[in-house]
């Protein structure tokens, strides 16, 4: 509670007028978990944090190239060493200078097992971090690690102020170098940020940013309509037409990195039968499904989506195509319909929608499918332990790097953890490892494409669609940048 400064109006329902000048109110369905990049790993938290903190590198949303942000430049004296030059003259919002020590502090804190950071694995390949001088950091990795820059651009690798971290709990009271400063947070209700007048890249125009928690999307849309909030994102496809019909609202869409796919539980014998997988894949009419999304999905068979590093157009049509007759035949010939199939679905996002449609289509082909829905927490556990036949998974690729997708989700190292598909294929493993341990980006891309094709050939997963990131804003809001991974930046946003 100490985080709420006395005297500021924590309320703001009549905020449409209050935010009129240069303020913006964003509605999210859940509250941020916390505001320390080290200690959190959820999208709402990171959407707040990405206004407060910055990374050494960032991926340019237009070109998809990784560019320095707080870094000035970098070089690789050898495959294991990364020497990074930092920008000069930058200060954290608490006045602490941003320098090599801060970088070292941040990374070491993240890796330290005592911290128990949820995303410690992000920087797992890092061996040492050395502050060579005030503006130079040298990172040594345990093995050649290609996606390092991508990892460094991940929001969990944002640089924190060491003095602030030692003095206070960043979860409640964050301090970064970003364009907005933390103002107040009333748990479960709203987070308020204000502009950082001293921002190194020029102060933003917006004076105030409010993140308001509105658990029901339809309520949020109603509030958008009445002006109680003026910005929401991640619009559900069902509500899209309603939002688009609102006069005061502008909807922005952009092809994104999230991918949604149906996966087999690869540790199961039945699922190891290529015919079975083929039957499933050919039974699913993905085009019909994507149509249901009202434009909020991009159809492609590729596991690595068009916005992801490692994607190649040829993968779009790879894998097994929809062919209901073939599916029926396979099912009939092999008796696949005899035993019931448990289709596990977490009860959030579009999973239920996918499950219902896929179940119907599989049933059509002769399978005997039962849906089992679960709360998120139970789902994560159940899927991790491989207690299902088929399930839907998704991956929102924060760094837009293919290794970041394929390694945690499909590499046999991670079976029993993030590899919920329980996929284990030595050939595939090798390709992914190569993509990680190669520093040359063109090489990496090739490995990734091969790995991608390999999965598709095997029908290891059935990709349902690639996400389209959306935002609905009041028409007065200009200059919102939407990142393909769903993140957005408010630095250049203005209100008219």
């Amino acid at each position: 509670e100490s985080t709420i400064p006395e005297g500021t109006e924590s309320g703001g329902s009549s905020s449409s007028s209050e935010a009129g000048d240069q303020g913006i109110i964003y509605a999210s369905t859940t509250d941020a978990v916390g505001l320390s990049p080290t200690m959190t790993n959820d999208s709402v938290s990171s959407s707040v944090m990405s206004q407060i903190y910055e990374n050494l590198f960032e991926r340019n949303p237009e070109t998809m190239e990784i560019e320095p942000k707080l870094a000035e430049s970098y070089e690789n004296p050898d495959e294991l060493t990364w020497v990074i030059k930092l920008k000069e003259g930058i200060e954290f919002q608490d006045g602490t200078p941003f320098n090599a020590e801060a970088v070292k502090y941040t990374f070491e804190k993240l890796i330290d097992p005592a911290t128990a950071a949820p995303r410690a694995s992000l920087l797992e390949p890092i061996d040492t971090v050395t502050a060579v001088d005030e503006t130079t950091v040298e990172i040594k990795t345990k093995y050649p690690y290609g996606p390092l820059l991508a990892a460094l651009s991940h929001s969990n690798a944002a640089i924190i102020s060491p003095t602030a971290d030692e003095a206070q709990d960043l979860m409640q009271n964050p301090v970064g170098t970003g364009p907005f400063k933390f103002e107040s947070w009333s748990q479960g209700d709203q987070v308020v940020l204000v502009k950082n007048e001293d921002y190194w890249d020029g102060a933003p125009t917006l004076d105030k940013v409010t993140y308001k928690v509105v658990p029901e999307v339809s309520t949020a849309i109603s509030m958008l309509q009445t002006g109680e909030v003026n910005f929401i994102d991640a619009l559900p496809s069902e509500q899209l037409s309603r939002v688009e019909s609102l006069e005061n609202i502008e909807v922005t869409k952009k092809d994104g990195t999230p991918v949604y796919y149906l996966t087999f539980n690869h540790s199961q014998e039945r699922n190891e039968n290529p015919d079975f997988r083929k039957a499933v894949a050919s039974a699913i009419n993905r085009d019909a499904f994507v149509e249901k999304l009202n434009g909020l999905g991009v159809r492609s068979n590729s596991v690595l989506g068009p916005q992801v590093f490692g994607y190649d157009e040829s993968a779009d049509e790879a894998g097994t195509a929809y062919d209901p007759e073939a599916a029926k035949q396979l099912v009939e010939e092999n008796g696949f319909g005899d035993e019931p199939i448990k289709l596990l679905a977490a009860n959030r996002d579009n999973f239920i929608l996918m499950a219902e449609i896929v179940q119907a289509q599989l049933t059509e082909a002769g399978f005997n499918v039962e849906i089992e829905t679960m709360e998120w927490a139970t789902f994560l556990d159940t899927a991790r332990a491989g207690e299902y036949d088929l399930t839907f998974l998704s991956w929102s690729n924060v760094t837009s790097d293919g290794s970041e997708m394929l390694y945690p989700n499909f590499h046999s190292d991670n079976v029993g953890a993030s590899n919920r598909a329980q996929y284990s294929n030595p050939e595939f493993d090798k390709l992914v490892e190569a993509s990680r341990t190669t520093v040359d980006q063109d090489e990496r891309k090739k490995y990734l494409d091969q790995a991608n094709q390999l999965m598709l050939d095997e029908d290891a997963v059935v990709v349902m669609y690639h996400g389209v990131v959306t935002a609905a804003t009041d028409k007065s809001i200009k200059g919102l940048e939407l990142d393909p991974n769903g993140q957005w930046f408010l630095q250049n946003v203005t209100r008219e």
Binding site: E1, M39, A116, P215, T219, T226, E375, L380
Partner: protein, 313 residues
């Protein structure tokens, strides 16, 4: 009276221990790992083990429970697994909103319920009675998640009279009252209906009582027969339902807070259950149970004012 309070306090203590054990063990055996939620889909095995260690989740059940009770006795209700915020703080931020909502709904329920019940009892079998009874029964039958959505649709979106959601203004301001109206109606309707039913039947029963006939035999004015001789006696069961309904209301906040984007304990509770945030579930359940016991204590104390036959030695 003091002895009543002490007895209730003891009872509460027993209840809290029982409830905390029930909640603790149910969360313990429930599938779903808090560490998995914190770690998110990307967490590796080592990430999760580290988180579990950090939270002490690898200890045996009884150790965990004993630790919890030990701390709770000292007023420390633990830290949220998710946000690592002290549970007491997290709850206290939200509690005023829930209380506001519950009280506002109770006011709606009592006013609406008692008036409807009285009218239908006094005009027994009239058209008014039938419509009031029908209203009351319909009130209990409306799913409140549905009612909430309909109310928003009509009054906030179409008519734009009232805000859609949120609860951030003090209750004594116009905006604060406006914010409360729809959620209070949503939550209060069911209870209003129950109170109306009880008021009606209780009034009808008392009005046939011998002592009411005695009052009439004395030549007491009809108005006083109702207001003095009947109502006070009829209030006793009505107050009981009001007390019980407060418990129901507290349960109902879970859905209402969600629909109306109110930052309250109910919502905190479902989020915490979903995230397997044990300490948060514990804390909020204990709070709600305490509240329930307190309300019933108040009901008991009110009894002693209404009914002189009730004495707590």
């Amino acid at each position: 009276m003091i002895s009543l309070i002490i007895r209730r306090a003891l009872q509460l203590l027993f209840l809290l221990v029982g409830i905390s054990f029930l909640v603790f063990s149910s969360m313990y055996i429930a599938p779903g790992d808090p560490a998995a939620v914190i770690g998110g889909p990307t967490a590796t095995e080592s990430d999760i083990t580290a988180i579990r260690d950090n939270l002490g989740l690898n200890d045996p059940f009884l150790t965990q429970y004993a630790r919890y009770v030990g701390n709770a006795v000292q007023g420390d209700f633990g830290y949220s697994y998710q946000t690592s915020q002290p549970v007491a703080d997290a709850i206290m931020i939200r509690f005023p909103n829930t209380l506001k909502l519950a009280i506002a709904s109770m006011i709606v329920a009592v006013i609406l319920g008692v008036i409807t019940g009285l009218v239908s009892a006094l005009k027994q079998n009239s058209l008014l009675d039938v419509s009031a009874t029908t209203f009351a029964l319909a009130g209990i039958s409306i799913p409140n998640f549905w009612l909430g959505a309909l109310l928003i649709l009509v009054f906030s979106v179409n008519l734009q009279w009232l805000p859609v959601g949120g609860m951030s203004n003090p209750f004594y301001t116009i905006d604060g009252i406006k914010e409360l109206i729809l959620p209070a109606i949503t939550l209060g309707t069911g209870s209003a209906a129950m109170i109306a039913r009880m008021t009606r039947s209780s009034m009808l029963e008392v009005i046939r009582a011998d002592y009411v006939r005695t009052a009439r035999a004395k030549g007491v004015k009809e108005k006083n027969v109702i207001w003095i001789h009947t109502l006070k006696n009829a209030m006793i069961p009505i107050i009981t339902v009001i007390g019980l309904n407060f418990g129901l209301l507290l349960g109902g906040t879970i859905i209402t807070e969600k629909v109306f984007a109110i930052n309250g304990v109910g919502r905190l509770m479902i989020d915490a259950i979903a995230a397997r945030d044990f300490p948060m579930v514990q804390g909020s359940v204990l709070l709600v149970a305490t509240l329930f016991v307190l309300v019933n204590l108040i009901v008991d104390i009110v009894y002693t004012y209404i009914d002189p036959r009730i004495k707590y030695e």
